[in-house]
Every structure is written in structure tokens, then in C-alpha cells.
Symmetry: C2
Subunit: 251 residues, 2 copies
């Protein structure tokens, strides 16, 4: 697995070849072995294969072409609904309509998601993780008919690779690890850790075509702007409230 | 990897044998290949090997003995601090002191965490994931000296296994998957999906020693209570505010 991981890249173009139900179920079932809070398995997976459903989901993901091109789209949700229904049916009074419970369920869902990614990639499948799931969750909630206490947290497009893009760079290990306590970064550290990234030809090109002075400005001014982040922060909180995860703390 | 996963269980007792720095670094470096938002790597790992530091961390994890017994404790943090320092040093104006940015960084951190777990377990190491990290984050922030825009989201105790506990049960795959849209659970579905879990001798015993009528009541009344969840929801929001992740939305 470490070998497939070392070679991994996100795949956005898929061959015209189905991902069999048996294979998908085998990988999902194995992913269930991932550790989960109190063994409650606070997640659900909505499997999209129908083209009309993919077309409906696409706008929530900024119409990235992977959504309609991939044979399978998985929307992984933080899910306390199933556990709460079980509790209510067993004369137990659940208290999971709060912020901690959302984070616990989101954690379960994301750990499960990543095991699935590791297994699927080891099997030769290609995956693209769509961070857009958190951008317009209300649209996804409507399309997939997610009930109260179910919140989408991750989307994967899955298929057989039809491209082999170059691997992207990563920061040196020492820049992401801290011994015993967090050692904050000096200006020298920052220069050293980001040098390789900033000097890559594709990143220099990226700065040029966007008419920016630095790579960081491409991130702050174009890709992930304060304005968008703030608007989408409101949207997520609205969705969490709608799904019943913010009944506490009361505001 | 699918083989080590199928056999996996959380390990809470460790042999008196160190986890070498070279091995740990190799696994952490490989985990960096995990997909990450915009290739920003919005996470940091604090590595605890010092016994005094483990003793200080233990109360934040309800003094579970793994924290002091494990040779290595990893605290994985959602981290926008490094990226923001980079941006500021490059004449870029960051806008990441908001709720969406916390969730994006937490997602990056949790996906990275799970790849590490899968790799470490494939290597024969034993791991326990401590969900308690979200319960008293302020204590952890103080002990590990986490700066603004850094929030602990996961803790792993890591070592060589000195026990082989039985595997825990999992719900049937059909109970966690939904075709095309979410199919809510009927009372019959709930009975069927939870039957195996409720009939396990250890779970029956669990109900008995807690003087409860149903297994679900053990969860709602003892293990994960409404009162605790609500108090800890406040604590997390306070910690997020302190770390600068709730400057938006303004409340």
C-alpha cells in the first residue's frame, strides 16, 4: 500500500469502463474496519451512478467535469440519524443535536473516507476528492434528500484512470512536524520550506498568467479568497442549523 | 494493506520497545502523499516522546493509560498558521480566520491521520485513536503551545502491540450505503441492522452491569450523554474562537 501511495496522484479523467458493484462493495466493506467513535459508525455513503443524478450534483461542485464523467460518485456524510433512530426505538433519549456531535460524526466519516481512498488506489482505481462538498452543502442536502442529523462532508469521484498527471510537490517533513511542543515558524523557516514549491516551473507560470507578484497571492486573491470563505462559512452554519446540529450551543 | 485492515483492532497495550524515529518519519512522510486542499497541507503533527509531556497530556484524555504507556503520542492539528505566515511574508492578504477554513484544515488533518493509521498498521504497529482530543481542546492547546489558527483534532497513541483484543463488530454494509438518494430507516430496518450488535454476549453483559434495559441506553445515558455533549460543544467553540477560527461569521 505504501507503494501505491508513494505514486499516487488525484485522477480527474476516467476510462469508459464501469466500476463493478462487487468491487465497490468489497472496498466499502473493508473500509468499515476503520476505527469509529464508540463503534457507532457515524457515517453514511450515498452512491451515485445515475447520469441524471450526477448532472444534478455537478453545480454544487462548480461543474467540475469529473462529477459527470466518473462512473461512480460517492458522497460521504456525517450521520447521527441512524444512531438516533435506533436509540429512540430502544427507549433511549439521545442528545446528539449539538456541535460536538457533528464534529464526532464528521471525524468518523472522514477517517472512513480516507481508508476507502487508500484501498481503492491500491486496487488501481483513480480518485478525486472534491473539497467543494463543504461549499454549498444545502444543495447537496436537497438533491440527495438527506434528513436531519445527516450532513455531507466529502465527495469522491471514482473510476479507472485515463490520465497520468505529474505528482504534485509536498512540503519537507520537518516543516509539518514539531517535537514535544509547537515551534512557530521564523521568516527563515518559511523561506526555506516554501522555496521548492515557489520555484517549480508550473507555479511560476501560475503566478505569471494570473498577473500576480507571488504564488501566495494566487492563493489569497484568486483561489481561496477571504470573501468566498466568509460567505461559505455562513452557508455551512446555516446547513448545520438546518440539519439539527446546532441546537446547542443556543445562540 | 486490505489484509492488515481486515484484521485490525485498536491497540491499547504496548510492548516495552521503542518506535524508531526513522520508521516514524518514513510513515509520516509517506502520509504526506494524501490529497490536500489546493496542496496547502493544512496540518501539523506534534510528536510526544517525553514522559513528562505525556503525563501533562493525559488528563486531557481522561487519564486513559495509553497516553503515558505508548512510546509515541501524535497530536494532529488543523493548521492554517504556517500558510498564513507564508502569505504574509509574500505580500498576500490571507482570509482564513473563519469557520470554513477550520473545517478545510480539519479535513486535511483527518485524511492525513487516517493514511498514517493505515500505513502504521500495515507495518505491524498498534494504534489507538483518542476521540477525547475534541473534548478539552483548550488544555491541549496550552500544553503543546499551539498558536492562533492551530487546533488539535486527533490524537494517536502508537507502539508495538502487546495484546490482541477481539475484533469489534460492524454494521452490515447495506445499512451504511444508500443508492442515489438517502433512504431513511424504517423500524424494521433498525431492528434488522442492530440485531447482531445487540445480541453479542459482551454487549448484553454491558447492559446488565450498567443496570440498563437496552444497549442504546448505555450509549445515551452513560457513554455519550446529552449533558456532556452540550458542555463540550461550548468548550470547542470557545477553543475555536480563541484560536481565531471564528472571527467569521461574527456573532
Amino acid at each position: 500500500m505504501i507503494d501505491s501511495l508513494k505514486k499516487r496522484r488525484s485522477i480527474r479523467k476516467y476510462a469508459d469502463k464501469p466500476v463493478g458493484k462487487e468491487l465497490l462493495n468489497r472496498l466499502l466493506a473493508a473500509s468499515e474496519r476503520t476505527q469509529t467513535m464508540g463503534n457507532m459508525q457515524l457515517y453514511s455513503v450515498v452512491v451515485t451512478r445515475d447520469m441524471e443524478m450526477k448532472r444534478r450534483l455537478a453545480p454544487a461542485h462548480f461543474n467540475q467535469p469529473m462529477v459527470t464523467q466518473a462512473p461512480v460518485v460517492l458522497t460521504i456524510c456525517a450521520d447521527f440519524n441512524r444512531t438516533v433512530r435506533w436509540a429512540e426505538q430502544r427507549d433511549a433519549v439521545p442528545g446528539y443535536d449539538n456541535f460536538l456531535s457533528f464534529l464526532n460524526a464528521a471525524t468518523d466519516a472522514l477517517l472512513f473516507t480516507q481508508t476507502f481512498c487508500n484501498l481503492a488506489e491500491a486496487e488501481g482505481l483513480g480518485i478525486c476528492y472534491l473539497g467543494t462538498t463543504l461549499y454549498m452543502p444545502s444543495q447537496i442536502i436537497d438533491i440527495l434528500k438527506l434528513p436531519r442529523l445527516v450532513m455531507p462532508v466529502a465527495t469522491l469521484t471514482v473510476g479507472w484512470p485515463d490520465e497520468q498527471p505529474p505528482q504534485t510537490d509536498r512540503l519537507p517533513l520537518e516543516s509539518i512536524t514539531h517535537e514535544e511542543v509547537y515551534q512557530d515558524y521564523s521568516p527563515n523557516d518559511i523561506d526555506r520550506y516554501y522555496k521548492e514549491k515557489e520555484e517549480l516551473p508550473e507555479n511560476r507560470h501560475f503566478v505569471e498568467i494570473n498577473h500576480k507578484e507571488t504564488l501566495a497571492q494566487v492563493f489569497t486573491d484568486i483561489r481561496y479568497t477571504k470573501k468566498d470563505n466568509e460567505a461559505m462559512s455562513e452557508g455551512i452554519l446555516q446547513a448545520l442549523r438546518r440539519q439539527g446540529f446546532l441546537d446547542w450551543p443556543k445562540r
